[in-house]
Symmetry: C2
Subunit: 280 residues, 2 copies
């Protein structure tokens, strides 16, 4: 499997090489930020939007992110080693550095898109709801809860997905304590209601999705308007289709939620194309 | 500053040496477990209780922790390099290993106790409440929220403490969505009500504290009985003293909560001694 690693201050290095000391706060405390992008033949898709979000995450966590030019160069270094024209998952990671102080640890990795995601783009998803425990309002008033921040503290995200996998499911849809659909651990929720293309307001503390934002911003090309709405999971059954989207996963239709079939949209292929993802 | 690092499969290595590859899930996903213990002249204090908790955390996260004998040996390797008789903070860390599979990454570190903690044992704490967003009940029914698990995904823990520090405070006391005191980001809450020594029930999803457990189990030596109770933060003002305790911090009295003075207990020094922490 092809993998590439480029490290700030070191350039391209063998991806097997250890680069983090034992007391890096990234591993001791999950203390850092990251972004995952879809690498396409013409470069990382929505690169500026991802860098904008990484800067916002870092500012919220007081992580001194290197200048944007350094992140762009890291990505370029990694990309130069990647097979021409191949789809890839480009990740930028920046931890706070070691416990004893010193500079951040910052690097770019390039990996193939998991085969699982490519299958999900074609075949859709069977998922279940799972509470995230928090109300749809609390994170807006409590910045220390890191709503909207893409930190590397993904312990609960990964545990939620393992819980789904143990039931033979593809993912979970997190639900707020007051019963509203929020997001998936690594994807944004979108749904179609007639000619209104919807997502969840970021005031709920969900991560503002870059792929979701792109699709909503281009919804008019399919004759739709875009809107932020609150929705209860069972209400998704009476929409005109629902999707989980992310940079690496692409556009994946939710075909089953808590064992209930969701309507199959005739627009799925159009959405894949609107996002520029390889056709299903 | 003296620091020691011992790595599973490698033994004692220079603590500056990079040991984790870029795609270790510990740093990519905050995906792993840890324990911090108080190293004393006669060994790591409450070692078995910490290893028990680490095994429970690993089981809850499906992290294949090495056999206990290997963890004990790692700690012994580190300790052999530590100055005789010096107090220290011994940490055991175990991540899930790299994204492409393979063994866990497991190591022990030894560091001095932060001077800040030694000051707090003497002078007490000024802290503020901060919501954790979740109710006191939800985590018991939602194992994917990792209540009671000591994972390395401490992003919210650290953000909570930075939020406190920006206000010139020593720490926060997390409060549930339904208004009950829970715990601090790295410490257990204890309080005295007459001759009843209290802590918060673990059914709330707090981490079961080892130092707190020891003090409660020995409360009878001070003529007290131990109890688990729910309490609202303002009710702490009418107790007979409240403390935040942890292995590294020791026993630190809460002297101010949300700018209200808390009663000063005459038993503080006895509690330090009951915990075997160097006298204030």
């Amino acid at each position: 499997m092809t993998r590439v690693l480029a490290v700030l201050g070191k350039g391209v290095v063998d991806p097997e090489t250890p680069i983090l000391p034992a007391d890096d706060l990234g591993v001791l405390r999950g203390d850092g930020v990251f972004e995952t992008m879809h690498l396409r033949p013409d470069g990382p898709w929505l690169f500026d939007a991802h860098l904008d979000r990484m800067e916002r995450s870092a500012a919220r966590m007081d992580v001194p992110l290197p200048p944007r030019a350094a992140l762009v160069e890291l990505a370029a270094l990694a990309r130069a080693e990647w097979p021409d024209g191949a789809e890839g998952a480009l990740r930028l990671v920046c931890t706070r550095g070691t416990e004893t102080g010193g500079p951040v640890t910052c690097y770019a990795t390039l990996n193939p898109i998991p085969a699982e995601f490519q299958r999900q783009r074609r075949e859709g998803l069977r998922i279940a709801t799972a509470t995230l425990g928090v109300s749809s309002q609390v994170r807006g008033d409590a910045p220390w809860l890191l709503g909207g921040v893409k930190s590397i503290s993904y312990g609960v995200n990964m545990a939620s997905q393992r819980w789904a996998a143990r039931q033979g499911l593809d993912d979970v849809l997190w639900v707020s304590a007051d019963g509203y659909a929020l997001e998936a651990p690594t994807s944004t929720l979108l749904w179609l209601d007639g000619d209104v293309f919807c997502t969840v307001p970021t005031s709920t503390g969900i991560l503002p999705g870059t792929t979701g934002r792109h699709l909503l911003d281009h919804a008019h090309e399919l004759g739709w308007r875009a809107e932020e709405r609150m929705i209860r999971p069972t209400e998704l059954e009476s929409t005109d289709g629902a999707w989980l989207v992310s940079s690496a996963r692409g556009v994946a239709a939710i075909k089953e939620l808590d064992s209930a079939k969701l309507p199959e949209s005739q627009h799925h292929t159009q959405l894949q194309q609107l996002g520029g993802f390889p056709s299903a």
